[in-house]
């Protein structure tokens, strides 16, 4: 059975609505009628698909984000955000759970890679001037995504509940208290107390696993959609507006 036969089945057509076919109209509909793909444009300049234009840094950032979502959800199945259970769960993932150490390391290395890729993406966009009109707002969305990425990285830092995590968050939260006037209040709200303890662990867990990923998904959706709305990927100063 070929893929074409599969596309002609009733089930496939009921799910994806559009019929099969090689016409440009059918291809456009395949993108435009898909709830996920419709964020992207149905056409792209050939130039925009070349490696040199973007180094695919945005797509690679999104790829690491997807790896982090999948591995993160799997890690949540063995992790209790409580003191001192969190540390024991992390050790169990390393030494007891089948493939646990692989998923934990994949999550960790993907997190480092994502931070690196997001920065590289930002520099690439900056030095090529791709942030200019009409893409100013998408640059702003990108800056928000950079901050969300760093916050995800930071909140995830506490979750192993080892010495490194504890002191890193102690230092980080004390940096927050340097904010004029409101510093101590912000630190108190962030930690849910005066020291890094069970409340802080739970707050960081909720931020890391629920609030920040949802924020990231929301802004990623806007970011991708704005690429289409702003005339596709920036391909150089000669692009026709």
């Amino acid at each position: 059975m070929t893929i074409q036969d599969l596309r002609d089945t009733h089930v496939w057509r009921s799910v994806f609505r559009g019929g099969s076919g090689a016409s440009n109209l059918r291809r456009a509909m395949a993108i435009q009628q898909n709830v996920f793909l419709h964020l992207a444009s149905v056409k792209a300049r050939t130039r925009a698909l070349q490696f040199s234009v973007t180094w695919y840094l945005g797509t690679l950032s999104f790829g690491t984000f997807m790896i982090l979502v999948v591995t993160g959800i799997l890690l949540m199945l063995y992790y209790h955000p409580s003191v001192p259970q969190a540390y024991a769960d992390m050790k169990d993932l390393q030494f007891v759970v089948s493939a646990g150490v692989f998923l934990r390391n994949l999550h960790r290395w993907s997190a480092h890679t994502m931070v690196m890729l997001v920065f590289a993406h930002m520099f690439k966009v900056f030095y090529r001037g791709a942030y200019r009109k009409p893409r100013e707002f998408n640059w702003v969305v990108g800056v928000v995504l950079l901050i969300v990425t760093l916050l995800l990285s930071y909140t995830g830092y506490l979750l192993p509940w080892d010495q490194l995590a504890y002191w890193a968050i102690t230092v980080g939260s004390n940096i927050m208290s340097a904010v004029p006037v409101l510093g101590q209040k912000i630190r108190f709200l962030m930690l849910g107390g005066n020291t890094v303890n069970a409340n802080a662990l739970l707050r960081f867990y909720v931020l890391h696993c629920v609030i920040l990923p949802l924020a990231a998904i929301l802004f990623i959706a806007v970011h991708f959609w704005r690429i289409r709305k702003d005339g596709g990927l920036y391909t150089g100063h000669k692009e026709s507006q």
Partner: protein, 155 residues
Amino acid sequence: MEDDKSQPTRREAFIKLGVGSVTVACAGAAVFGYSYLSPNVLYEPSPIANAGKPENYPRGSVTQNLEAGIYIIHGAEGFYALSATCTHLGCLTAWNADQGIIACPCHGSKFSVLGGKLEGPAPRGLPWLKVWLGDDGELLVDRATIIPQNQYLRT
């Protein structure tokens, strides 16, 4: 023109390679996922419960151990232990001293003091559990081992 003819077959070969790789990857992920999702170590209570010294149970007494979910019964012929978990849907039963029966609060099943089923909807009576005396003379009950009825422990 020859190129035009060879191109689709080449594309088809790549598609087949791609679909094949994805299929292998999916199968691998399924095996990987199953082994990850099955815990290798369980932090559940041991099935063996310590019920303390036999002297604590006078002859003719029925004692429910709520924590372990069992009854320690010192009958005329010796000690025996019953599971306190109803065989219907797993509720915890209770000893009714006035009527001399074990009753389930959830759906009204009733059992005799020997564990036999008196009234439904429970499909079976309460199972007898393995009881023995430990090295320090305390009663031990293995909640995971069901023994035939009327096997008493005589001390």
